[in-house]
Every structure is written in C-alpha cells, then in structure tokens.
Symmetry: D2
Subunit: 323 residues, 4 copies
C-alpha cells in the first residue's frame, strides 16, 4: 500500500489533530504517502485534499479542533455524492482511507465500502464516548475536564449565594459526560438518558438534603435526559420546591474546544497509529478501539449498531456519594 | 478604633476573599478586632457575624467566591431593616464597617451612614468594572480571562466548522468585559452598551470580511447592548446574511467564579489593605480605589452617581485590528 | 463493623481528598463511624485523629494535597511504634483501617496486620503509577497533565529560540510519567528506567533530525533513568553534539499539586468507595485496584512485591511518532 | 511611509505575537507594507525576512513565544554587523523598523539609529517588567500568573507535609515578578534585589511564625536577590533554623511560555498598534509605553538608562499581610 488518505468528519473533538499526526507519522514510517482531505466527505466529493508530510503535522498535537476542518455532508448520503468521492480517490491513486469521526462518519464509510472497493479504517472521535468497540473515544476526557472546570467555577458563585445551578452538558444519546461530570464535581444528581430519575425523585432528594442542612449547589443535566432541557427542569423543580434561588448554565460548545488533555493526546496518538498498523496488517472496514488497554478492531457494522452501556456501578456510587 | 466589621455584598467577584484577608490582616496589625458579617446586609440585620483572626483567613487568598457569602438585601432598603442592622453593630461595639461590593452596596452604605454615625469604607468588588473612582474593580481581570479562555475554546470548534459564534458576556451597563474580551480574543466585533453599532453595521462588516475571504468566527455581545441578546442578534444577522452557520454561547455565571488571577489577587489585597489604612487615617464614607497606580478615596456620593467611561482609543483599535 | 479509620501516607497525590471523601460518604451510608487520622502512621502512633462526618468532607473533592496531611514514619518501622499505633486504634474501638498511599504505606500495613488483627484495605495513591494490582494510581493522570502543560509552555520559548530543553519529570523506579509526557508533548525522546537508551543513541537520533531539518525542542528525562539527571545528560549531549543551545528544567514538586483532573477525581472516588465495599464484603489486607475497568482486590503481599510493566507498544510508538 | 519592518529580539515574552499582529494590522490600515524579520538582529543581518499581510497574523494572537523567532546577536554589536543589517533594510526599501524586545534590543537600536537614518520605534517586551517608560511590559502579567499557579500547586503539597519551599522566580535585576508572586500567593517573604532582607531577618520572621503556630509554606526568591540562589538560601536557613523540611523549586523557563493572559493580549495589542501610530505621527527612536493608562513615547536614551522602581507601598504591604 503506497497512498492513503485521512480526514476528520462530523463534530470536532479535541485530540483529532493528534490522531491525524499519528496517522501521517506512522504511514510515513511505512513509506506511504498520505493525503489530508479537508472538510470530511464534503472535501472528498470536491477533491479538496493535499499531501501531508511528517513535518506538516509537526506542531498540531496540542491544538484543539481539527486542522483538516470537518463537516457533515448531505451529498455523501446520495449515490452521486459517493461516486464523486470515489472519483477523487481514484484520481489520486488513493488505496485506503482513515476516517476520524463518530457514528455518522462510520455509517457513511460502511455504505461507501459496500459500493466501492477501497478499504476504510475508522478512528473513534467524538466527545460523547457513545461508540461501541472502544472504552474511550477521542475528546471525551477533555470534554469532561472542561465541564468539571466550569462546574468548579459555578460552584464558587453558587456557594457564595446559596444557589442551585442546573448545568447542561452535552450528550444527546448517552450520559457518559454528565455522569462523570457529576461524580467529578460532587453534584447533587445527574439527569441522564440511561436512567429514569423523575422531577419528583430529584425534588425529594433535594428536600432530604435541605432537611439535613446540606445545601446542594449543582445538578448536572445531559441534553438527552427524559425531563426536558435544563431551563425546563429548573422551572419544574422551582414549582415543586421553592427553597433555592435556581439558575441555569449551558456549557455548550466550550466542551468541544480546548487543548486536549494528556489522556486524549496519548489515546488519539495510539488510535491513529494503530489505524495505520491495521491497514498494514490487512484489516479493512473496521474501527480501531482501545478495550481493556489493548487495541481492538471492530467491524463498522458492529460499531454503528451496537450500543455501549454505562457502568451501573458508577450510577449507584454517584447517588451514595452525593448523600 | 478597636472593633470593625467586614462583609461582602451584591454579586460575588473573584478576589473578594483576598480583600477580606487583607482587611483582617491589616486590621490585626493595627490591633483591631475584626468581625466577619455573613451574607452582607442580610447578615448585618440578622446578627450573623463572628470574630475573624489572622489565621482564620490563612488559606482563602486563592479561592473564588466569598467565604463570607453574599446576598442582595430587600430589608436593608427599609428604615426598619437598617435599624436592625445598626443594632447588631451596636451590640458588638463595632465602630466601623468595610463593605466589599458594587454600586448597590455603596448606595446602601450611603443611606445608612446618613442615618447612623458609623463610618463605612467601600472596596470595589464587581466583575463589571463599572465603578467610578477606580481604574479596576475586583474580579474584572479574572472575568475577562475566563471569557477569553472560553472564546479560545469556542474558536477551536468554530474554525473547524467555519461557523460564526455569538458569545454573550456579562455587562448590563458597561462594555468593559466585552470590549477587552473582543480585543483579547481577536473577535470580529463587540456589541456594547456604549456604542451604536447596528445589526446593519455588523452585517456590512461581516460581508466585507467574506468578500476578502476572511472567515470570522466570533462576535462578542455584552448583555446591555442595544440590539437584543445574543440569540436575538444571531437570528437577525442570519436573516440578513445567510453565509455562516451561526451558533450562540452564553458564558454566564462561569465569569463570576474561578481562582482570581494574579492581578486580582494583588489588587484585592491592596484595596482591602488600604480600606483599613483609610479608617486609620480618618477617612469615612468613601470607596477605596486604584487610580493611575495610586490609592485614592472617593466619596460614596460620587462613586455611585458618576460613571466611568470606556477608553475610546480601545474601541477604535478593536475595529482596526479586526479588519 | 461500626468504626473505621482512614489516613493518607507517603507522598501526597492529587485525588487523595476525593478518596477520603468517598470513604467517609460510603462508610456513613453503611452506618459506620469514620475517624480521620492525621499525618499517616505518625498520627496513628500519636493518637492524632478525629471523627469525620458526611459534611466534613463536603468541599474537598476538587482540592489538591490531602486534608489529613501525610508523612513518612520512621517510628512505624519499629515494633514499639506499631504497638503505640495499635493502642490508638484500640482506644478508639477502631475495627478496620483504610490506608491511602503507595508501596511504603502498604509495606507498613502488611507488617502491622501480621502482628495485630485489624483488617486494612489499601487505596493506591501515588503519582508514579508504579503499583501492581491497578491500571492507574491516584494522582498519575494529574501529574502527567501538569508535566505536559509545563512542556507546552517550555516549547513556546524553545521554538522561539531553537533551543533543546531537557525536562526532568518524576519517576525514580518507573517511566510511566515520562513516557506519557513524551508522547503527549511530542518530545524527541523519553529517557526512562525501563529502557537502555544511551547518550550515544540519543545524540544519533538528534543528529538524524538535524540532517532532516527537524528541530527538536524537548527531551523528557525520568529521575530514575540510567544516564544521570537532566543536567548531567544535557552536559553529555552538549559534549558530543554542539548543535543546540541546551537548557534544563526540573518540574519537581509541581507535579504533586494542583486540583485533580476529571479522571483522578472519578478514579479516586471509585477506589475509596470500593475500599469500604471491600470491608463490607469481608476483604482484608488487600489493595483496591482498577483493572480493565473493574474493581479488583490484590493482597498487599502481591501489590508490594510484583512490578507493573510499561506497555512496550507505547515505547515503540513514541519512537516512531518522534521521527 | 510605505514599507516598514517588525522583529522580536532578546528573550521571548508571551504577548509578542499579539504585538506583531497589531503592528501588521494597523500598518495595513495605513496602507503600509510590513516585512517580518526573523530572529531579530541576526535575521536583519542575514536578510531573513518576508512580507506579512493581514491574514498572515490571523491566528497568532493567543499563542505564546514569537512566530518571528528571536535571538541575541553578537554580530549586531559590531560595525560590520550593523552595516549588513542596514544593507538588508536598504535592499528592501524599508523606511522604518518596529523592534519588540527589552533593554538590549533598544540599546542596539539606539546605536544603529545614530549611525543610520532609519527611524526605530520600540515595543517593550520582557517578562521582567524592568523597563523605564512603561508601567507594564509585555509578558509580565503572564509570567506572574504562571509563577502563582506554580506556587498554588506547590502549596498543596507543602501544606500536606508541613514543608517550607523556596521557589525561585525570574528577575535578575528587578523584583517585580517575585514581589507580585509573593503577594498573590500569600508567601512568607520575597527576597528581591531591591531590598536588604538578610538570612537572619528571614529566619527571625520564620521563627516568629513558628512561635505563633503559623506554618509558612513558601518563600519567593528572585534570581537577583543578594543572598544567593534558592538552593543556597535554603541551605543557609536550614543551618540556622532546622524546624522545617525545606525543598527548592526553580520555576525557570516555564515563566516565558504559555498563552498570554487577557491583560497581556490587550497590552501587547495596544503597544503594537501605537508603535505604528507613533511612526505615522513622526516619532522616532522612542519606546512606546503605557503610563497611567495613556500611551507615552520615551526616547531610547532614557528607556535604556533610567530605572523603574518598585512601589514601596507594595513591599510594606507584603510584609504586613504575611504576618
């Protein structure tokens, strides 16, 4: 194999640059030429790519975002779009692709590789950590640290005023960020998609704290929880228990940015590095993951359909530690 | 003077603890006893206070929020409330008060000191920096740094997607935070209460950038600007110029928290220290400020009525640097 | 079991407070009384301990260091010292101890529990990560992040001057911190106890980079590597290859401090929580660890004698990515 | 004036990039062409320069170090070197230079402008803050924040062990960094070039604290103090007062790196911006400074010979607050 391409796609995640660097450096070690495609599948369709050499990725390891830019592509969902993308790869003699992204990215890769015979290897890059086939995804650790730092600051002002903040963090389908943020920040509770905590449960818990003179300051709300967004939840709680001056903070896109943490830098490097190793060893149409500390390749078909479940032990612990 | 009290009031600001520490330490140096009143005027009314000695403030310099807690007090706006507050001071033989807070705090102090003969010295603690009589207020530098760090992270993700973010920062009456955040983060523009930039102006500026292939990523919006909140502005811009994928982030209460910066720690220490020096020298009913690097005492009457204006040189520079 | 004690011992590590909190909270959940012993075995000998209730650990989760203080104890190495320690436990009806620390701490616990019938559970707290029986130790992730942040700053100035810095990080017996710091900061090389890289190898590598116009800026040196300390290595390199202006930085005790990272907060909470679960389930004289994402209890005898080895895959990857 | 050059020289300081950006942007606004000279006077001698346009400085505001690289130049101290430098400027029709650096940089500029008729404007960039003609220099605020963050971490571990750390910060000729670090971190004392504190004084102070059960944890040592380096001072203190387990940390080059603070970004932007304004207004051979919040131009001759003194009020306050 002499020529491969690498791209980032979907939502950006801190560590994607470290993964791109590892791909380029390890491919160069194996005497391959690497092309960087800009804006994911959009750039593949438009022929927006360029050669990346070792030195081109020399100062990007620590930078947030993705130097290759990223996008979501409607056109790649059409046969015409994928045909154009294929022609781009053909025109540059590209023999394999390394796709850094999440579920949507690998779904696209899965469809494409059924139509065209170009091997793809996926690298799991999404802050949500909701991908089967890897214990951790690129950007998750940074996102949780960003959320916890934000809650640390909010707690300063919450404690000064005896206020209760509802802090909304990312996670439409999974509570990994919310649960870890709650444990790491000592929050009263985490409302997450995976559990059935109701507003009544939450109010009961807050009342119990108040009776014991425990002043809670923060409740973490995952986007995809079942009770509404943070503002709606705050209003519902206020209606049932008017003890606190309640406030709402939505951390939002801050969670996507920032220099990656140590763990994300090392993880991204490993996953990018082993995406190339996978190609060399003949793997194709699989996602590179880290499972129990070891590299594992999971077929796209599994990675995009199976779901990763939250550790119930952590959920139970979060409740007991908040008492 | 043998017994004084110190309290924090109004919105909390990072550095208030450093000011409390400096008050206690310098008062102890002058052989005064210091009482810490909790929750501002509320605690003064309720008699919620306790003796603070040197060692009690030994590990608070670097902590955000205020260990004395803070509150806004409706009761202190009534003659009965102030009478109760006076009785608390009388009961503890307190001869003077040091009030750390903002405009509302000093307005309260001003009314109180006209009714009762207990000298007050103010220390300007508000992240908004909108107090006459001091170049800098406690918490402003930390708030701007927090806002800029947030914008740095947002820019990572904005650049990766070619998005335009409208980032709302605090500042109902003044654009100090917004203007400094815009300059410090290289934002396209700052919409602030002091200027008359319209949506049309902003759109024109963004279009000019687009024509020159300059992709802007961030516009800073002060709460008190004339065009609405960040979401409203984003919608109006989108209507007139649909070039960008626009997003909104509201930094909110994060700006109030966090460990104070170096500048805020030193500034807070100086202002707290010189509040006590002021008392020793016989000042009363004045706010301690730092003007051109020197300590200056400004009567409450002036501090709460005069307004501090933004440096027009900075406004002009911000525009030119964003081109 | 009704009364237990918890203490921290040996070198402090960020996250120890989160572990103490989890011990106290979970023990309270199981209706146990918890005593916090100050200064490790020293306080156990001196009877320096006090009751800790849920609320006493309410605001310590995010703080570096250890609120229980820590120490190394010569006296506990003597039979008399251990006898005094036992008497303290007896006097307070303490039925079990939870010891947060490293190899020395568990060695002490191992000797003590052979002499006296009081069950001990260990919690691995050491930034070096060199404990068998757990994939991660408390404080390691924070220490690596601190080291990488320092290297990020050093690289700014190194790149501005075309300098080569030798940065010494902790790790007398193990290269975990150094290797992860090197990968995470894109360093040229990591000199660690586990490998046999010589000064000649290093110089050869630097020369190869220079020939290819690659300007290296940082070499990471673990304390326990085989070529001497960072200053000695810098001098030896300079003698053989006078291409760079070389500088030395020793990160030192900074690595022990700081607010724990998200990972360390969650890890510490889990390990502390499950130390109590272990007691409830009848475990004794074991260390609580996290292995492949699951809690595992390892007998002290194993934990203190077996050694944890570095992942060779990481060593190889570090070399290839630095090319 | 149509063509100017900008360069950074001497030790690098965080904020230099923001100053370069402001120079390029404002010069472009005035329809000038700007050339960026690499490695300071070295690059001027070697003809190492290139055109910088608005967009070339588009993403450097927040980055530490200097994208133009910096160096100290022996050759520029010779008439031959300066002649070569002049020829470079002549060859590119450069009509004026903006020099970002410290005392050495302006001394060079001063000699050069006496020999050749090319106007220079200086921008004060040095973390030490020891330049006459400006209240603040570029990089000082960032350096103090870096030092204080380091001390905050060291204090975590110092408090856990009851240790006394001697922390050495930069400042060969001035105590600005050390004094502000000491105040901002609540250190016991700052040993600085400007005062005559002896080891005996320090020991007396530490003993007084010990008698009052105050456990100090940190003493700040400026490089240029009169009692030796931090290690020597620690040894001398240990000899006279063996109460503490003493440790030494040298923060070193970390202080030069890192993303500039809000204040440094705004300050650097202003100074760079007004260097161009100065040229436009016909100033020459002056340093741009900020004095009492206003821009002021000081002749090189004054800037390099007069000295800026420490505020004695701060020295006195530091002592009282540490009691």
């Amino acid at each position: 194999m002499k020529r491969i391409a690498v791209f980032t796609s979907g939502g950006d995640a801190p560590g994607m640059n470290a993964a791109v660097r590892a791909v380029v450096r390890n491919a160069s070690f194996h005497d391959m030429h690497v092309y960087g495609i800009r804006r994911g599948y959009e750039g593949m369709i438009d022929g927006d790519l360029e050669r990346l050499e070792r030195r081109d990725v020399g100062n990007i390891l620590h930078r947030g975002g993705t130097v290759l830019k990223t996008a979501r592509s409607q056109r790649f969902m059409t046969p015409e779009g994928r045909r154009s993308a294929y022609e781009t790869l053909l025109a540059h003699d590209i023999e394999a692709c390394i796709a850094i992204g999440g579920n949507g990215t690998f779904t696209g890769a899965s469809v494409f590789t059924e139509e065209y015979d170009i091997p793809f290897i996926g690298v799991p890059g999404t802050i949500d950590n909701d991908l089967y086939g890897t214990d951790l995804t690129i950007g998750f650790d940074t996102a949780v640290n960003t959320a916890i730092e934000a809650v640390d600051k909010i707690r300063d002002t919450a404690d000064s005023h005896n206020r209760l903040f509802f802090v909304e963090v990312m996670g439409r389908h999974a509570g990994f960020i919310a649960l870890n943020t709650a444990i790491g920040s000592g929050a009263a509770s985490a409302l997450i998609p995976e559990t059935d905590t109701t507003i009544e449960d939450l109010v009961e818990f807050l009342k119990m704290g108040a009776r014991r003179k425990k002043l809670f300051s923060v409740v973490i709300v995952a986007e995809g929880n079942k009770n509404g967004n943070a503002s709606e939840i705050a209003a519902q709680v206020k209606e049932k228990f008017d003890f606190y001056d309640t406030k709402v903070t939505i951390i939002g896109h801050l969670q996507r940015g920032g220099s990656p943490t140590a763990l994300d830098r090392v993880l991204s490097s490993r996953l990018g590095f082993h995406a190339v190793e996978g190609l060399v060893k003949g793997h194709k149409n699989v996602m590179t993951g880290l499972v129990n500390g070891k590299i594992k390749y999971t077929p796209f078909a599994e990675a995009i359909t199976k779901s990763k479940s939250l550790d119930n032990d952590l959920v139970r612990m979060a409740e007991i530690l908040a008492l």
